[in-house]
C-alpha cells in the first residue's frame, strides 16, 4: 500500500502549504460557484413558527452537489502527482458525474465503477458520465451496488497505482482518504460559519446534515467543532424503518458494529459473522454499509448526535421544501430537512438551524417520481418507450 503512503505524503505536504488552499478556493470559485449561498428560508421558518431556518446551498455547486468540492480538490492533487488517470466508484452516479467532470476539466482519463443494479436505476447519470468522456464499468459482484463499486475501484487501484489515482467519493476508505475528503469538504463549514455570523451576528444552535459516507456532514460540522454550544446532528437513512432491517442506520440505534472492511475501520452494518448486510434507502447516496471513521469518532466522543429519517418522512420533507422555499433538495439532503423540521417548532424564534442541502434533487426525477407514484410521469415514460419501440 505504498500508494497510500505516497498519497498521504503529498496530501499532508500540500495541506501545510497555504497557496494550495488558495488554489483550491480559486478553482472552486471560478469553476464552481463557491462560496455557495446560505439561504434564509422565511417561509419554512414561518411555517414551523420556531427556529430560524437557514439552508446551506451545496446544491448550487457545479454538477449539483457537495461532491464537487472533493473531486476538484483531489484533481489538484492528481495534477501535482502527475498521474494521467483517475478512477472512482459511484452509487447514484452523483460522484461519478462529478469525477468525470473533474477529469474532463483537468484532462485525465477516467473510469467509473458502478454497480450493475445502480446503473440500471440511474441511467441518466451513466449517460452524462459517458458524455463527459468517462468509461463506466458495470460491477457485477456482490449486491452490485455502491459497496461493490468501491471494492472494484480498490482492485483497479492496487493494480494500476503507478498511473492511477482513486478519487474516493466520501470520507471513508483507507487513510488518508477520510482526512483528505473531510479536508476538502471543510470549505462548507468555513463558509457557513462566516455567513451565519454575518447574517445573524451569532452562531447557529443546530446544524443538520445527512450522513451517507459522511463527507457533507463532516464538511459543514468542521466549521463548528470547537463551538461546543452548536449542536451537530447527523441524519442517517432510516429507510423503511430501522426495525425492518431495510435501512442504512449505522450509528443510530446501535445497529452498526465496529469492523474492518474496504480498507478501513468503522461502524458497519454487518451480521454476527462479520459479513456486510444489504442496506436500503430511497436515497442512493446514503445506501451504504459504512460511515466515516472520523464521524464514528465524533459519535463516540458524543460531539455529533445521530438520528435517522425514514423514506416516507423524506419524501414529505422534500415536498414541503419545494412548495415553501422553491428549493429541490436531493433525496439525500432531504434527510437533513426532516430532522430540522422536527426540531424547528420546538425551538424558540431567536434560535437558528442550518440545514446542509448537500445536493439538488432534479437529478433524482426517476426516483422521486417513483416515490410519489406520479401518474403523469409514468404515462410520459410509457409514451417515450413506445416511440423508441417504433424505431
Amino acid at each position: 500500500m505504498t500508494t497510500l503512503e505516497k498519497l498521504e505524503a503529498v496530501f499532508f505536504k500540500l495541506k501545510e502549504d497555504p497557496s494550495f488552499w488558495q488554489e483550491y478556493t480559486r478553482i472552486m470559485s471560478t469553476y464552481s460557484c463557491r462560496p455557495t449561498p446560505l439561504t434564509f428560508s422565511q417561509n419554512l421558518t414561518k411555517h414551523f413558527g420556531g427556529a430560524k431556518i437557514y439552508i446551506k446551498r451545496e446544491d448550487l455547486n457545479h454538477t449539483g452537489a457537495h461532491k464537487a468540492n472533493n473531486v476538484m480538490g483531489q484533481g489538484l492533487l492528481v495534477k501535482r502527482m502527475g498521474k494521467p488517470r483517475v478512477i472512482a466508484e459511484t452509487g447514484a452516479g452523483q460522484h461519478g458525474v462529478a469525477t468525470a467532470t473533474m477529469a474532463a476539466k483537468f484532462g485525465f482519463e477516467c473510469t467509473i465503477y458502478m454497480g450493475e443494479v445502480d446503473m440500471e436505476r440511474q441511467s441518466p447519470n451513466v449517460f452524462w458520465m459517458q458524455q463527459l468522456g468517462a468509461e463506466v464499468v458495470p460491477v457485477k459482484d456482490g449486491t452490485r451496488t455502491l459497496k461493490d463499486a468501491i471494492n472494484e475501484s480498490l482492485r483497479d487501484w492496487v493494480t494500476n497505482m503507478d498511473t492511477t489515482h482513486y478519487v474516493l467519493g466520501t470520507a471513508c476508505g483507507p487513510h488518508p482518504f477520510p482526512t483528505m475528503v473531510a479536508y476538502f469538504q471543510s470549505i462548507i463549514g468555513q463558509e457557513a460559519r462566516e455567513q451565519i455570523l454575518k447574517a445573524e451576528n451569532k452562531l447557529p444552535d443546530v446544524i443538520c446534515a445527512c450522513v451517507g459516507g459522511g463527507s457533507n456532514a463532516l464538511g459543514i460540522f468542521q466549521g463548528f467543532l470547537e463551538d461546543e454550544a452548536v449542536e451537530l446532528v447527523g441524519v442517517e437513512a432510516g429507510g423503511e424503518g430501522i426495525k425492518t432491517g431495510r435501512h442504512a442506520a449505522r450509528l443510530t440505534g446501535d445497529l452498526g458494529r465496529p469492523g474492518v472492511a474496504q480498507g478501513y475501520k468503522t461502524y458497519f452494518l454487518q451480521n454476527e459473522e462479520g459479513q456486510m448486510v444489504e442496506t436500503h434507502s430511497v436515497a442512493a447516496g446514503l445506501d451504504y454499509i459504512g460511515v466515516s471513521p472520523i464521524l464514528a469518532d465524533l459519535y463516540e466522543k458524543k460531539r455529533v448526535k445521530f438520528t435517522y429519517a425514514t423514506d416516507e418522512e423524506v419524501v414529505e420533507a422534500m415536498k414541503l421544501a419545494m412548495k415553501k422555499e422553491g428549493v429541490i433538495p436531493a433525496l439525500e439532503s432531504a434527510h437533513a430537512f426532516v430532522e430540522a423540521f422536527k426540531r424547528a417548532p420546538e425551538m424558540s424564534r431567536d434560535q437558528i438551524i442550518i440545514i446542509n442541502q448537500s445536493g439538488r434533487g432534479d437529478k433524482d426525477i426517476f426516483t422521486v417520481a417513483d416515490a410519489l407514484k406520479d401518474k403523469m410521469w409514468q404515462e410520459f415514460i410509457k409514451h417515450k418507450a413506445a416511440i423508441y419501440e417504433s424505431y
Partner: protein, 254 residues
C-alpha cells in the same frame, strides 16, 4: 512441527513446494472435501482454505464470485472450522485459513485463533491487514501457536519489508505483482529481483503467489521461492474441468 520447520524439511526433498487454495463453501462444502483429497493425493504440500467474506478487496473476479456464491449458499465460519477440522484430521499436510480481517475480528481475535488451532489449522493469511495494525492479531496467533502469515509485495519499501520480517512467522507470502488475485503474472526478471529483495530481509521460507498458472511458472520459481501458490487458477480449473481436471493439472506439476 511448525510451518517453518515443515517447509525447511520440504526444501530438502523438493525443488519447490506447492500450496493450493480453495474457498470454503464453493462450489459446495462437499466438493471442498473431494478437492482437498484430490490435491493431497496429487502431492500438494500445503493448502489455504479461504473463509468467504462479503468484501474481498484483494481478490479478482474468480475469487470474488466464489466468495459471493459461498456466502449466498449460507456458508458460515463454523462450516469453515468444521472443514478445517475434518481435513486436518484426515491429512498430514499443513492447512491454513485465508480470510479478511473482519472475520477474526468479529469472532474475537483470541477466540478465533483458539478455534483455528483446535480445528488443526497451522496459520492465518489476512491480506487486508497491514503490518502496522497487526500487533494484536499477531499476539493472538502467538498465544495459540498458529502462524500469522504476512505479505510482502514489490511495492513495499525496504523499511516495510524489514518490519514485516520482524513480525512474521511460519513463512512469508510474497505477492508476485501489484493488483488482485487472478490475472496471469508475467514471470520475468522483476519477480526474481523482488524475491531476492525478500530473501535479503528474511530467513523465513518464501511462498510466492498471484497469477501462478502453469508448470512453466512453477519451474521459473523453483530455486527462487520455497513454495509456489496456485489460487484462482485452481478454482477456474475446477469450474471448467472438474476435479479430474485439477488432478491431471497437478500431475503435470509434481
Amino acid at each position: 512441527m511448525n510451518l517453518t520447520e515443515y517447509l525447511t524439511q520440504l526444501k530438502q526433498k523438493k525443488k519447490i513446494g506447492l500450496m493450493t487454495h480453495l474457498v470454503c463453501g464453493y462450489p459446495s462444502l462437499e466438493v471442498n472435501y473431494r478437492t482437498v483429497s484430490t490435491m493431497v493425493e496429487a502431492g500438494v504440500d500445503l493448502m489455504e482454505l479461504q473463509i468467504p467474506f462479503s468484501e474481498p478487496i484483494a481478490d479478482g473476479p474468480t475469487m470474488v464470485k466464489a466468495n459471493q456464491t459461498a456466502l449466498n449458499q449460507g456458508t458460515t465460519v463454523k462450516d469453515c472450522l468444521n472443514l478445517m477440522r475434518e481435513v486436518t484430521q484426515k491429512y498430514t499436510i499443513p492447512f491454513l485459513f485465508m480470510t479478511y480481517y473482519n472475520i477474526p475480528l468479529q469472532q474475537g481475535l483470541l477466540n478465533f485463533c483458539q478455534q483455528t488451532k483446535e480445528a488443526g489449522g497451522s496459520g492465518l493469511i489476512v491480506p487486508d491487514l497491514p503490518p502496522e495494525e497487526a500487533k494484536e492479531f499477531i499476539a493472538a496467533c502467538k498465544e495459540y501457536r498458529i502462524s500469522p502469515i504476512l505479505l510482502m509485495s514489490p511495492t513495499s519499501s525496504d523499511r516495510r519489508l524489514e518490519m514485516i520480517s520482524r513480525m512474521a512467522d511460519g513463512f512469508i507470502y510474497c505477492v508476485a505483482r501489484k493488483g488482485v488475485t487472478g490475472p496471469k503474472t508475467d514471470f520475468s526478471a522483476a519477480v526474481r529481483i523482488f524475491l531476492r529483495r525478500c530473501r535479503e530481509k528474511t530467513s523465513l521460507p518464501l511462498a510466492l503467489g498471484f497469477g501462478v498458472t502453469s508448470k512453466a511458472d512453477v519451474d521459473f520459481l523453483a530455486g527462487e521461492a520455497d513454495v509456489a501458490v496456485i489460487g484462482s487458477f485452481m478454482i477456474k480449473l475446477l469450474e471448467k474441468e472438474g476435479i479430474e481436471g485439477v488432478r491431471s493439472f497437478l500431475r503435470t506439476l509434481i
